[in-house]
Symmetry: C3
């Protein structure tokens, strides 16, 4: 076990073998850290978090835990569970009771909200925001600067339950509105937007706004106007609060 000289630890924390915790990191009460977890500098691991969890099959066959990495300056919200083999970049944020399953690769500056279930064996880019209560299955590919709003359900099984997996691809700057469902194999194009409550059954072309059940094209996102007829896109030019995007620096 390699501990830095300077990290703080709460009550009832259990840390297993070969765990590294960076300088100035804080591990709060009731945290369980299993083997081979590496936590960066300036991190907060909040109460009741579990890191390096093995999945059920691995427990049964007594698999050796893989390396699990949490990048610098990350905050892991209370009750979050991160499984073994997952690698998360710097400046990560999770909500409460968030679950990130095994062998997931998450870039820098991402956040995943409360009650979201990231099912593992998938890839999330940089600057991605997944809000509360989302379900993201195995194989899903999420590029950079994607926003997924609350209660979105992504699927992956083309003819369930045959297990013919056709993952969803969500391309850069795309947004998926609250409560939407995305069917297997769908490609959601760059800068597109699926409005809240959409059931997305077909590919969405770049810049298209879709809505409805099933979702149909409503307009080009570049035509959208705000309350005062202002042009709304590209949305990154209009971010008014600090959400950690590079153009805000």
């Amino acid at each position: 076990m390699t501990f830095s000289n300077h990290f703080k630890i709460g009550f009832n924390v259990h840390i297993s073998k070969n765990v590294k915790i960076g300088n100035n990191s804080v591990i709060d009460s009731n945290v369980v850290i299993y083997d081979n977890v590496q936590i960066g500098e300036n991190c907060f691991v909040r109460s009741g978090v579990v890191l390096g969890e093995l999945n059920h099959t691995e427990i049964l066959v007594k698999s050796k835990p893989r390396m699990t990495i949490i990048g610098d300056n990350s905050i892991i919200g209370s009750g979050t569970i991160v499984y073994s083999g997952t690698v998360i970049g710097s400046n990560f944020r999770s909500g409460n009771h968030t679950v990130v399953r095994e062998d997931t690769i998450i870039g820098d500056n991402c956040s995943i909200g409360t009650f979201s279930d990231i099912q593992g064996r998938l890839r999330i880019g940089n600057h991605v925001r997944i809000h509360s209560n989302c379900f993201i299955p195995e194989g899903t590919m999420i590029e950079d600067f994607v926003w997924i709003y609350p209660s979105v359900t992504i699927t992956n099984d083309l003819y369930p339950p045959h297990g013919v997996i056709k993952p969803v691809l969500i391309k850069s700057y795309a947004q998926v509105g609250a409560g939407s469902v995305v069917l297997p194999g769908v490609i959601i194009g760059n800068n597109s937007f699926a409005a809240a409550g959409s059931v997305v059954t077909k590919n969405v072309d770049s810049f298209m706004v879709v809505m409805g059940s099933p979702a149909r094209v409503y307009c080009d996102i570049r035509e959208l106007r705000g309350l005062n007829e202002e042009v709304l896109y590209p949305w990154k030019d209009f971010l008014t609060s600090n959400r950690g995007f590079p153009w805000e620096k």
Copy 2:
């Protein structure tokens, strides 16, 4: 720290500074109570609950925790997390793993179900029931005697992700059916009903029943008839089980 003479406490409970716990209250195992939490009389705080949690930004900047209040006769379900600055009235019930974020004001006789995420900085009236798996964002205004059924997603961002917040207002005696999505800025009128699976994109007038995606008016709620042609509204006259409403006393 001011403790009453008569409260019971479980195993592995950590209680921070300036915490008050009322008479006859019970704190179960693995509970964490941070600074400045005040729990009323006759409360049950069940296992694994966290009270007075700071949000991620507050942790980073080392904010001083505000007062967090749980009213008399409340039961906080196992795994619930209540953030700092939230004030909850008497006779409150939460489910399991419920999250109530910071600076939320909740009246008396409310309940919030399992896996519901109350995002904070919002106001909930009296006698409100929010069922399991709901998402209620910042700014939402919920009046008295409102029922929100399972898996409802409320939104608030008019042109996401610009952060132009237009909160939803749900007026007294309204009901929002299971699995519904409510768009930003929508006003759901008194005594109205959005049926299960609705995507509510426009205001709902008082007494209107709406359904579908997008939701359209189906009838006036006063025209609704039950299986035996009985008039169903006002629904409060037909409550047969004890759900704690004043007219049942």
Copy 3:
């Protein structure tokens, strides 16, 4: 308390009265087991699990906990809460933070996913898979070999909030697609399929595929063809991965 000679136990585990734990079972850290819980052989009860929980009313009136049973070879995922009086068969799996309320009867070889809320007083058959983030209310009847995909919401209250309960019945080999909502009293027939995002307002006949909001019949499931024009049903003949079904042995 009757403990077998051979079970392992983690840190900070609290075990109440009249608890039985079978041979070769493992109880991980921060687990709370209340009175009258019986755990079979070769089980894993993972970190932060609560077993034998009383509901809020029972806590208030100081009910005596009923017998709670977890069958042999089961794995209870971290953060799961199982209430008093629930009886679960062998080879059970739960996800993370799963909630199974009181007096639920679950057969053998079932799994219930992360963030699913099984509301109690209901019956689930054998070989049933309920995925993540589902809501299953009281009274729901689920027969054998049923698959319920992520984020499905079942309802039961015919004229909410009157409490006129008309439970949903899901018959053997039926499948309910991701994000679907099922209205009270609906019967989902044998071998039928509600596609992802359906709002199921009427009974679904055996073998029918339905989709949309409201859901309408799309075809007979026996007419469905795959990417290479192959017949897809009965789906059980096409399962390629080991999911524990008897015909795979």
